[in-house]
């Protein structure tokens, strides 16, 4: 499944690889992406739960959640929230913080105002080396001409192998349907020249869709701007073609360590070790054959 990391979607065509750049530094946690995704892809409702952890109500990516907005609340002495950082041309806008009481009423004076929220819209990474695709025994998962990874629902037999294979916990099985589901990067919309529903709906341009090369350039610029503006914790996640999955087709700008957002810090496609696994299994099989044969050697008592 070698696709050209630099430019290519599908080898042999001039269709560039398409992807997402999710800039979490401007995400306001409105969940428009979650809703747009559900609507467009007609994903069934999967429980109106309140996780009681934060303002997160969908918990994580799964068969019926293809965009998931994480809400990280950190009681850190960080000063107050300031939006618009690193965008010198725009006026900073104070969005305030939703709450049922006056801010800080229930905390000591010491803690008031010293708090930050990190919000991040997570999605399938459309890995360059995609474990889900590698392990699929039916060929239901395939690489599209846009370089994305899509499940063909008329072929998937619900073996569930891809679910524990994904190092990010993205793809999952829909219990009453038996098959697996995940983000398709709106394969049907791309074909019609439209951008994915989540990117279309995102009011802050936190989700940006486009040619992966351009997105990487834009992301690097954005990190530079943020660093210049003092946001030294800004870093890209999944943009490096040298990483364990060969670079993600959907990458992120984060303001803290990946694991804080529920992302693995150093994911590696499991099939990288598969040749070695086959070797060990081959030696083990030979050991068994030799061991069993050896039991028939030696003197027969009767």
């Amino acid at each position: 499944m070698a696709i050209d990391e630099e430019a290519g979607g599908q080898p042999g065509t001039d269709q560039p690889r398409m992807g997402f750049f999710t800039d979490t530094s401007v995400c306001i946690g409105c969940k428009a992406c979650e809703v747009a995704c559900k609507e467009w892809n007609m994903i069934p409702e999967d429980g109106l739960d309140f996780t009681a952890m934060s303002f997160d109500n969908s918990g994580g990516l799964g068969a019926d959640t293809w965009r998931h907005v994480a809400f990280v609340e950190q009681r850190e002495p960080l000063g107050y929230q300031e939006t618009g950082v690193g965008r010198p041309e725009g006026e900073p806008v104070d969005l305030g913080m939703p709450s049922f009481e006056r801010p800080g009423d229930s905390t000591g004076a010491d803690e008031r105002g010293e708090f930050r929220w990190l919000m991040s819209s997570d999605v399938c990474k459309h890995c360059t080396s995609a474990a889900c695709l590698d392990v699929c025994p039916t060929g239901a998962l395939f690489r599209t001409e846009y370089g994305t990874v899509v499940v063909q629902e008329d072929i998937c037999n619900g073996c569930g192998y891809c679910v524990p294979a994904c190092p990010y916990g993205v793809i999952d099985k829909r219990a009453d349907d038996g098959r697996v589901w995940k983000c398709t990067l709106c394969y049907d919309r791309l074909g019609d020249g439209l951008e994915p529903a989540c990117a279309k709906a995102c009011p802050t341009d936190s989700i940006q869709f486009g040619n992966l090369d351009e997105l990487r350039e834009r992301a690097n610029e954005r990190v530079r701007d943020l660093h210049d503006a003092g946001v030294s914790s800004a870093r890209l996640y999944g943009d490096d073609p040298q990483d364990g999955v060969g670079g993600a087709g959907a990458f992120f700008l984060l303001l803290d360590e990946p694991e804080v957002y529920g992302l693995p810090p150093d994911p590696v496609v499991t099939t990288r070790d598969l040749p070695s696994m086959w070797r060990y299994a081959g030696i083990a099989a030979a050991t068994l054959l030799a061991g069993v044969s050896a039991t028939f050697l030696g003197r027969r008592r009767r």
């Binding site: 952890m53 934060s54 918990g59 994580g60 990280v72 850190e76 000063g79 950082v85 008031r112 010293e114 474990a131 590698d134 025994p137 039916t138 060929g139 998937c156 037999n157 619900g158 569930g160 679910v163 524990p164 294979a165 190092p167 990010y168 916990g169 099985k173 349907d177 038996g178 098959r179 943020l226 503006a229 946001v231 030294s232 914790s233 303001l255 803290d256 360590e257 694991e259 804080v260 529920g262 992302l263 810090p265 150093d266 499991t270 099939t271 696994m277 060990y280 299994a281 081959g282 083990a284 099989a285 030979a286 050991t287 068994l288 069993v292 050896a294 039991t295 028939f296 027969r300 008592r301």
Partner: protein, 351 residues
């Protein structure tokens, strides 16, 4: 005013130095967690190895959707079938028909059972044959389907010709063929589970095939001890001892090498199953060494070996589930790996 306060006009009275913008790293918790690097160079105490951050303790991986009864059962039956075919072939070639026959039946029964379990676990069982739609070496499940498609009919022919006495030459060829392919059937299930992101499985990929073939040999030896007359069961007893020793050694080695990722094999239900498996297997192996003269002891030891092998597979399955459920097993080793990578880079930079 000594402390800050939130007023309708914004935050008032914040202490100097606290006007950091969101995400400025100097005051970030993340930096404190990155401390070990600095700590090491300045010679201070390193932060405990298992300290880690997560998203409200939520797992990073999606939980394994396989049904334990189906897939752990599949692992057990596949191993039993594969190793039984090997023993049956040896028994046939060395003139031990009363050992060969029951083992051929075992192989057919077990491989049929494993197939039923596998199909039963599919979300769309009617689409089972889609497994043979492609040939994909990167998918152990696909490779296994092809392997079973070759092995199953041979095991079947061996059993049926053995039972009816028809076509003896074909029967012998099938018996030997199944005996040679059998070990591959017993071993491939290790890459099947290790080729996932489940930490307790993936990290153990070097030892897992040896655990599996050892467990398979012990189970088939146990089956031989249970079903064959004492006089012909000597190879089965030796296979049982060989398998038990291999399995026990491989499990011990795996747990030692995995470090903290081995915890799921030692705690919870996974740990309990693994301990039970070890006790049953060692008891069965001891019985195999002593049971040359007692039919009852031989049968009891054989049953213990079979139960032990089943417990091993269920224990490994359960440990995988436990390790996927806790973000610790995903984050801590990956952080460790990153630290080592960064350390190397720093060294390179220094040179």
């Amino acid at each position: 005013m000594s402390t800050s306060d939130v007023t309708p006009q914004g935050v008032q009275g914040e202490r100097p130095g606290r006007e950091a913008v969101t995400g400025s790293a100097a005051v970030l918790d993340g930096d404190r967690h990155r401390a070990p690097e600095h700590a090491r160079s300045s010679g201070t105490q390193e932060v405990s190895e298992t300290e880690f951050r997560s998203y409200y303790g939520q797992p990073i991986l999606n939980q394994i959707v396989w049904e334990g009864r189906d897939i752990a059962g599949y692992l057990f039956l596949g191993g039993l079938a594969g190793a039984s075919s090997g023993l049956a072939a040896g028994a046939e070639l060395t003139g031990r028909p009363d050992l060969a026959r029951p083992l051929k039946y075992t192989a057919l029964g077990a491989v049929s059972g494993s197939l039923v379990a596998l199909v039963h676990d599919l979300g769309r069982p009617a689409r089972f044959l889609n497994m043979l739609r492609v040939f994909r070496p990167t998918s152990p499940m696909n490779m296994g389907s092809w392997l079973l498609a070759g092995y199953g009919p041979m095991a079947g022919a061996a059993a049926v010709t053995g039972a009816t006495g028809l076509f003896p030459r074909i029967g012998r060829a099938a018996t030997v063929g199944a005996g040679v392919v059998g070990p591959a059937v017993a071993a491939y299930t290790a890459p099947l589970i290790c080729d996932t992101a489940v930490p307790a499985w993936h990290e153990g990929y070097r030892e897992m095939p040896f655990v599996f073939v050892g467990s398979a040999a012990a189970a088939s030896g146990g089956m031989g001890m249970l079903t064959a007359p004492l006089g012909q069961a000597a190879p089965a007893r030796r296979a049982a001892v060989f398998g038990s020793a291999l399995e026990t050694a491989a499990v011990a080695r795996m747990e030692r090498r995995l470090g903290m990722v081995a915890e799921p094999y030692q705690s919870g239900r996974g740990g309990a199953l693994m301990r039970t498996a070890k006790a049953l297997t060692l008891a069965g192996a001891a019985g195999a060494l002593l049971s040359g003269r007692s039919r009852v002891l031989s049968a009891a030891s054989g049953a213990a070996l079979l139960a032990g092998s089943a417990c091993t597979r269920f224990g490994i399955f359960k440990a995988g589930v436990q390790s996927a459920a806790d973000p610790k097993y995903t984050v801590v080793p990956q952080r460790q790996r990153l630290r080592e990578k960064n350390g190397e880079q720093e060294e390179e930079g220094a040179n």
